[in-house]
Symmetry: C3
Subunit: 129 residues, 3 copies
């Protein structure tokens, strides 16, 4: 259900991207009530000067390893669930590939159940409701 | 009103992209109550390993032709309208350029009418209301 | 709080991109109640045929300088505030780098306060509430 659009500066290895991908998904599974196989992500790697961020607003200091993780989720979660997800996320990304927690930004949007079609022209979340 | 952000793997021809563009827009016109000239789309073509998806979650099997179509719409639609749109979309994309229906994922978000400015620094949907 | 994802065709200079970035942020600060250091933006520069737009729908005529500014905001604003923001935005972008107001499209989405984590695995907007 979640679709994660991840934006970072160009220059990371395939292994680094794969580790970020795994960390994001594992945090969703561990703390955001997401099934293991419900994994959909896009990574956008931008040229210098195309990812712009304040170094210190509400956290940081941010570095050139800054990552924005924009997640579209399929239903709301409790505030405590969201907080647990953020915490787990920086924990996992810190372990592998070693992203500093200061460099991780998340913004979640929530769509309705009938606003999703995973495949086959069907609204699976409605059929499944 | 809708803005469609389309994400797929790199390697498709200009003709393929144009056909996907046309199919998405035609499905919006046919089944989502969108005017013919209300066409705004961005295509993001990603390198291998930058578009990550489960092959079988809620559909599939997905292939490397997998496409994520993220649509921001200007007002909610009925569930039946959404379902008709998904169905029409895979029908049209299947005809041209020949995308398998298993490879089409859609997620819709809905913004308020005053959250849109199409041009000229004006909120046209409010003025028009 | 706002995260702005900006999409335009490839071919602009670093100075042009920087001026668009500054103009967007200044308009948010001037008219959208955004703190000066709350600046987070990503610029996506697309190849020809990958940014598709109608030349005349609800405004225009649009040119190849067309820019889509998709903003995720942290709380709703009044309609009048949104209108003032759009107006200020085209004013500033018109001054520098000289984008025609016909070429500026904006769509705003609004997320909940606990849907943001700016850094450090924390939900700063909740803690700060």
């Amino acid at each position: 259900m979640p679709f994660a659009r991840v934006t970072l500066l160009k220059g990371k290895s395939d292994e680094y991207i794969a580790a970020v991908s795994d960390g994001i998904h594992q945090a969703l599974v561990d703390e955001y009530e997401v099934p293991l196989t419900d994994k959909f992500q896009a990574f956008h790697e931008l040229e210098p000067g195309r990812l712009i961020f304040d170094r210190h607003y509400f956290g940081g200091p941010r570095s050139y390893d800054f990552i924005v993780i924009a997640i579209t989720a399929g239903r709301p979660r409790e505030t405590a669930t969201r907080q647990a997800f953020y915490k787990r996320l920086v924990e996992l990304l810190g372990q592998k590939p070693g992203v500093r927690k200061e460099d991780v930004m998340v913004v979640i949007s929530t769509s309705e159940r009938d606003e999703w079609s995973f495949s086959n022209g069907e609204a699976q979340m409605v059929a499944a409701a």
